[in-house]
Symmetry: C6
Amino acid sequence: MQSAFDAKHSRLDTSLPSIRHLQDLIRNRKLVQIEITTGEALEGVLAWQDVDYLALREPMGESLVLINRAAVVLVRSLR
Amino acid sequence: MQSAFDAKHSRLDTSLPSIRHLQDLIRNRKLVQIEITTGEALEGVLAWQDVDYLALREPMGESLVLINRAAVVLVRSLR
Amino acid sequence: MQSAFDAKHSRLDTSLPSIRHLQDLIRNRKLVQIEITTGEALEGVLAWQDVDYLALREPMGESLVLINRAAVVLVRSLR
Amino acid sequence: MQSAFDAKHSRLDTSLPSIRHLQDLIRNRKLVQIEITTGEALEGVLAWQDVDYLALREPMGESLVLINRAAVVLVRSLR
Amino acid sequence: MQSAFDAKHSRLDTSLPSIRHLQDLIRNRKLVQIEITTGEALEGVLAWQDVDYLALREPMGESLVLINRAAVVLVRSLR
Amino acid sequence: MQSAFDAKHSRLDTSLPSIRHLQDLIRNRKLVQIEITTGEALEGVLAWQDVDYLALREPMGESLVLINRAAVVLVRSLR
C-alpha cells in the first residue's frame, strides 16, 4: 500500500517553478553549473531529477554523478 | 489526487511575513544581496520564489540562478 | 482550505520557551547578537519572527535583514 | 485547535534517553560544554530545552544564550 | 502497531531513480567514490543502503563504514 | 495521548540495517570512530542511541558525550 505520505516523498511536484525549470534544463540538454555546499562547482548536463538527487553527466564523464539535492546551493545554466 | 500533505509542500503560505517580504522584493524589483551557506554573497533581482528555490537574475546574467532555500543564510535589500 | 499540516508550518507555537524568549527580545527592542552557520555575527534589534526567518534591523541599516532560522546558531541578548 | 501534528513539534518526548539526559544536566546544574557546527565550544549551565533551542547560562553571562538544536554537535558534561 | 508514517521512514521507495541507481551500484559491486560534506572522498563498494545510511566497504577495510545520507554530497561510480 | 506521529519520532525502527548495525556496535562494546560535520573524529564505545543522539563513552571519559545524529558523518568500527 502506498500512503499519501509516501507518495509525497516519491513524486516531484511538477507544478513547482523550480521543478519545471530543472525539467527544462534536462529536456533542452543545457550545460549547467551546479554549486554545492563544499564550495565546489560541477559542470555538465542534467540527466534526471528525483526528490533526493540530481543526476549530472559531466562533459568527460562516462557515468552519472548523483548530487544530493540537500547539497545543492546554486544551479546556473551556462548557455 | 493531491493530498493536504502534498499541498503543503507545493504552495507557499502567503500569510507568512517572510514570504510576503520576499514577494514584495520581487514585485518592486529591489536589488537584493543573498548570502549563502558557502559564505558567498550574490546580488541581483529576485524573479520568483517557490518552496524549494529562490530565482535570482544577476545584473550581468542572461539566465536565472536557482538558489536552494536551504542554502540561504541572509537576504538583504540594497535600495 | 487550510489543513492542520499547513497550519503547523505557518504558525509559531507561542507556548514554546524559545519562541517566547524571541518574542520578548522583539517586544523589548533588545540589542541582540545572532551568530550564523558561516561563523558571522550580526547585531541589531529583532523586528519579527516567523517559522522560516528572523527579521533583524541593524543599527545602521535602513531595511530589514532576513535571517534563515536554519542558519541561526546562537542568539544572545546584549543588554 | 491543537492537532497531534502541532503537538509533536511543541512537546519534547521525555521518554527519549537524550531528552532525559539533557533534563538531568539541567536539574543538576551540571557544567556542560556544547560544541556547535561552527567548531566553537560554549561552556555553561543549561537553563532549559525545548524542541528548537537549548538555553545556556554562561559563567560570566547575565542573559541566556539560545543555541539552535540543529547547530548542536556535541554535548559533554564537565563534572 | 506500524503506522503509514513509520513505514515511510523505514522503507526505501524503490521506484525512485536514485534509489534504483544506488541499488544497481550495490548489485554490480561497482567501485564508487562518495564525497561528503566535510570535503572528504571515500572509495569502496556499497554493501547496502537504508533511509538513514549508506554502508561502504573500503578496499582495505575489514568492516563497513556507515555514511550518513545527509552527509552525502556526490556519488560517482568509478568503473 | 501518544499519536502515531509522536511515536515515529520517539522510537527507532529496529528493522533498519543501520539501526541494527549501531545496536550491534553497542551490544558488542566495539571501539568505534565517529566522524562529525566539523571534521573532528571521536573514538569510544557507544552506550546507546535514540532518534536524536548517539551516546559515546570515550576511553578516558567519565561521562557520556551526546553526539547529534544530524552531525554524524561516518561511523567506523575499529576492531
